[in-house]
Symmetry: C2
């Protein structure tokens, strides 16, 4: 894979073949932020409140919609309105992992109706290529034009098995489904992670990196963290930050601090590559 670390968000916003990725980079450039907040709140009120408060400082709002205890369609209707107001994308971190036939139903149907409101979803390729094929077909056949998939190519938890052949397969499957796979959840650029030697000029997968914290090294349940600067150096494009932002006493101040640290690291990377 050609690493796009040295190209500016503004340039990628112009050149990316995928419309949703162009929109994502344009948002990052306009708002000068590469922060995706991981909003692991458990009530509609808290979710909307944090979206409204942090909206100006983030590019992406990442949800686990299935932890919202009082979820109704109104939850996501309102979230969509906040997203439009503050110009961010919604990423439902569903981590689809089932066979194709099942994920199509999970994505489009059910009470949560994720397809209707989430711009970005993600999926593991543990089940093989069929899952990405199925989700791509759902997007292809759907009425929304701004929908994209991230492949869960790596995980940041202790003892993760999303490594080696699994990560390589993620890259290969992404290449086959470039129309709808916009990138990866990974800890770094995956340039060297392919079982084929084929160079693919101009391809531009977006890297979302989890486990970002300015201060914490880990939690009691196996999560491990790295700093914004370290992640950006390794090739991250967007930094997913959760408890580091919203669990403190002043989430807005924390969001600004992460936005500034992330943007500065991004600018340093650009400068370093010129």
């Amino acid at each position: 894979m050609t690493s796009r670390s040295s190209v500016s968000h503004g340039e990628r916003a112009k050149c990316h073949p995928n419309a949703l990725a162009r929109r994502l980079f344009a948002i990052a450039e306009t708002k000068q932020t590469n922060i995706a907040v991981s909003a692991d709140l458990t009530t509609t009120r808290e979710l909307l409140s944090i979206a409204e408060a942090l909206g100006p400082y983030i590019a992406v709002f990442k949800t686990h919609i299935d932890i919202i205890s009082d979820f109704t369609s109104d939850t996501t209707d309102q979230l969509q309105r906040v997203a439009e107001k503050h110009n961010f994308l919604i990423f439902e971190d569903r981590k689809y992992i089932d066979i194709g036939n099942t994920v199509q139903k999970q994505y489009r149907g059910g009470a949560l109706r994720i397809y209707d409101w989430a711009h970005i979803i993600n999926a593991s390729v543990l089940a093989g290529e069929g899952i990405i094929d199925a989700l791509s077909r759902t997007i292809e056949n759907g009425e929304e034009r701004d929908r994209g998939i991230l492949i869960l190519a790596e995980m940041t938890s202790k003892g993760s098995l999303a490594t080696g052949e699994y990560t390589k397969a993620s890259v290969e499957i992404a290449r086959k489904h470039k129309e709808h796979v916009i990138g990866f959840v990974a800890t770094r650029q995956l340039s060297a992670d392919s079982r084929s030697d084929e160079a693919v000029p101009g391809e531009d997968f977006v890297i979302f990196t989890t486990g970002i914290s300015i201060s914490s090294k880990g939690d009691a349940l196996g999560q491990q963290y790295q700093s914004p600067a370290s992640a950006m150096e390794r090739g991250a494009d967007f930094l997913i930050v959760g408890r580091g932002i919203y669990s403190g006493s002043d989430p807005v101040a924390s969001a600004k601090a992460y936005r500034d640290a992330g943007w500065e690291a991004y600018l340093s990377r650009l400068e370093g590559s010129t």
Copy 2:
């Protein structure tokens, strides 16, 4: 792992260290069935109707609750009543895959409240051991006593990466969490799949095998099938059957046919081992 293929369900119902597994084997023995129906229906009415119709012939009712378009808590309240009436267990095929902190919220909370009604859940170990640790703690600290975890050790879809080291890690993590991990979703006994040589006498992991069909070889989205007899020979204890039962014109007749084929294969295995 000591293979338990040669031991009868009745014997395992008496000896298994886990209360939920004892109950599962007792149900199988009483109803003479090792069928788990995969109920991939998308409305509450269809779900309850198929549970009521097939209840007498199955040991386990497997759900994807997030594909039910009109889900409310009444959906699962009613399903629990049908399960009691017909004496089967409910298995929510959620395939948890996130970090520990997140899966605890997904399991206990949210609109779907899976912990409240599902006897059995499953999880991938892609994220590492933390996920099983977190789900085990949730069960340990909860009020329900009949809750258990299956580790997704293999998948039957084309190009599955749930093989090799992933499957071995599944076995090792299961061994560390035997109080709450009752077994595996796998295509076979996993006796040889361990990175340690340590024999563990008396351990008894239950094998649930997916992709079972009397007639079909696969679907257009990568699913692959094997017969009940083939699966039982390889070490399956419970056979997960989906479209083979409910997509035909007479689901009850199909369920009976699968129950008979599965039970006969089970008896053949017992006889073959004496």
